[in-house]
């Protein structure tokens, strides 16, 4: 129902786009997205962070092309090579695997886990938050009851249980982190929905004959997207930290797939002889987490959400 309505509305706008002439005397039409973007661009730190994030994403996507070696290529004759050695910029680890390549591939691991976790978290929290906030009554009480129970349960413990059950593949770790972290986002979505559903334009939509699905998807949901986006941008570094933490204690992505937590754990053993083995993954990890967090800060300011956004 809502789907077809959206489709027709989309078609309507594109149809008459041809009819409407552009007028020079008027300010350019700006959606709230465009406005937020312009505000975002005024924040230098956020822009630089966004560039770094984009770079990291490119590295993650093209990891096999960028990395000089495969992440699991062992060379026992040349293990624990120092940094800046002839063929290995960051040296090799205890199994003779190229550390630079492993760093590049671990970026891919981290971002994949972050992506999977956020997809899961967004889907769960939007569905649950929207239904709870919009329907209210018993549905709200039941769904928020579940959410509260989840909230009371330690997220890390829950993630560990899920990883133990689902296995230590990248996807499973991502799913586990996502399932353990949708709670705050669901509460946020519900809160937004509660605030928006009493707005006059929602009432106006009803007065124009909009059905329940249309109201929920066209009037309420689009107005919650800003805060959701901000939550995602803070959820990404949180997921990266969670994954690194799991890997550090050997519960994250299974070897030989590289991950920052695993690299840091290995580097720990060689802190005195080969400190770069510890420092390199830590620096990369810190840069990634900071960059994503600053993007989140920038977005929060751009959407005028205040401190708790």
């Amino acid at each position: 129902m809502a789907g077809t309505e959206m489709a027709t509305a989309d078609a309507a706008s594109s149809d008459s786009d041809a009819v409407t002439p552009e007028s020079s005397s008027l300010p350019k039409a700006r959606s709230q997205w465009r406005r937020a973007w312009e505000k975002y661009c005024g924040n230098k730190l956020a822009v630089v962070s966004l560039v770094i994030c984009a770079l990291l994403v490119v590295i993650a996507i093209f990891a096999p092309l960028i990395a000089p070696y495969g992440y699991a290529d062992t060379n026992y004759d040349n293990h624990l090579a120092s940094a800046f050695s002839p063929h290995h910029l960051f040296g090799t680890d205890e199994l003779g695997r190229d550390i630079l390549s492993r760093l590049i591939f671990s970026t891919r691991s981290a971002l994949l886990v972050a992506l999977a976790s956020q997809v899961v978290a967004v889907v769960l929290s939007v569905v649950i938050g929207l239904i709870a906030g919009y329907a209210g009554g018993l549905a709200d009480q039941v769904l928020m009851g579940i959410t509260d129970v989840m909230f009371a349960f330690p997220a890390y413990l829950f993630t560990i249980i899920l990883v133990t059950v689902m296995g230590q593949s990248l996807l499973a770790v991502g799913l586990a982190i996502g399932i353990a972290s949708w709670v705050t986002m669901a509460r946020l979505v519900r809160g937004q929905v509660l605030a928006i559903k009493v707005k006059e334009y929602v009432e106006a939509g009803r007065a124009m004959g909009a059905g329940g699905t249309t109201i929920a998807t066209r009037y309420i949901l689009p107005n919650t997207l800003g805060p959701i986006l901000v939550t995602i941008s803070f959820g990404i570094p949180a997921a990266i930290i969670a994954e690194a933490g799991l890997s550090l204690i050997g519960l994250g992505v299974a070897p030989p797939t590289p991950s920052w937590g695993g690299l840091i754990n290995t580097g720990r053993s060689y802190i005195l002889s080969e400190p770069h083995m510890l420092v390199a993954p830590m620096v990369l990890f810190a840069i990634t987490v900071l960059a994503f967090s600053w993007v989140g800060d920038g977005l929060r300011d751009a959407f005028d959400l205040g401190e708790e956004g």
């Binding site: 008459s16 700006r30 959606s31 006059e200 004959g209 689009p222």
Partner: protein, 284 residues
């Protein structure tokens, strides 16, 4: 209990209108808000009025007199814990009280439209004007997409918005307050509803926009639209409406043709209301 006698007199006068039944007939409407461990709040307690095509009725009263609830009950859009406990709402011969939510949804926007008091809040900030003007035309399958675009431009032009074609691409927050109020009116009337419920359409705007809004409503009325205007301003009601219902604390205290009520108010509250508005009127 003068209120009660007024109601009975009013309903006898309105039912004596010969010929067709009125477009909207509300009879003895009672809307209560349920409250925990308390008597229900009687927001509307025995209201009767009729509106014919091409005529306008003002529902006048102070804040909290139940006038907005009385108007929204017609659309089946009652807030929170309120419900219609008694009365009849007949629209074009159909009983709206027994209509299903789906039937009501089809009537809303297409046959009965509503203009809200605060246009800044009543337009969806994530939709362009074009979307807001065309969406309900498409929901109700009133016309094709192409025609909807044309109608949207026409509707904006009708409410006196300059460069309507370019304005279609704009978002509500890019327009001035007066422009938004008129755009809201365009959204409500683009479907050519038979009945328009205007909730304080002139309260939040300045005098020049107020004039424009009233002129537009007058044109719509001349085209045969029936209008229910909720207002606390008897001056605006007198300038525009044919009949008036005065409400006080949920009850209907006076009803009749606007001239008659203003020139010869029978109820003490109406007199007080008139004094408070006319004083302002004398100043300019």
């Amino acid at each position: 209990m003068s209120a009660f006698t007024d109601v009975t007199e009013a309903s006898t006068t309105t039912t004596t209108v010969p010929g067709d039944a009125p477009l909207l007939a509300v009879r003895d409407l009672r809307v209560w808000f349920d409250r925990k461990r308390q008597e229900p709040l009687k927001a509307v307690d025995g209201l009767s009025y009729t509106v014919d095509a091409g005529r306008a009725r003002a529902i006048v009263g102070e804040s909290g007199s139940g006038k907005t609830v009385a108007a929204r009950a017609v659309l089946g859009l009652l807030p929170g814990t309120s419900r219609i406990v008694d009365g009849e709402i007949a629209f074009g011969g159909r009983d709206l009280r027994s209509a299903s939510p789906e039937q009501l949804r089809r009537i809303r926007g297409r046959e009965i439209a509503m203009v809200f008091q605060n246009a800044s809040e009543a337009l969806n900030p994530t939709l362009t004007l074009e979307r807001q003007l065309t969406e309900h035309l498409l929901w109700h399958r009133i016309c094709s997409r192409k025609e909807a675009g044309q109608r949207a431009i026409q509707a904006l032009a009708d409410v006196g918005i300059p460069e309507p074609a370019a304005k279609l691409r704009m978002y509500p927050f890019q327009l001035s307050g007066g422009m938004r109020q008129r755009a809201m009116l365009a959204v409500a009337t683009v479907t050519r509803p038979k009945l328009l419920i205007a909730d304080e359409p002139t309260t939040a705007v300045d005098v020049t926009v107020q004039r424009q809004v009233l002129d537009l409503l007058q044109r719509l009325k001349d085209d045969g639209m029936a209008i229910v205007m909720i207002t606390h301003d008897l001056g605006v009601a007198r300038a525009f409406c044919d009949d008036v219902t005065v409400m006080y604390q949920g009850r209907q205290v006076e009803e009749g043709p606007i001239r008659q009520v203003i020139d010869n108010p029978r109820d003490a509250y109406t007199r007080r209301l008139l004094e408070s508005t006319l004083e302002v009127g004398h100043e300019h």
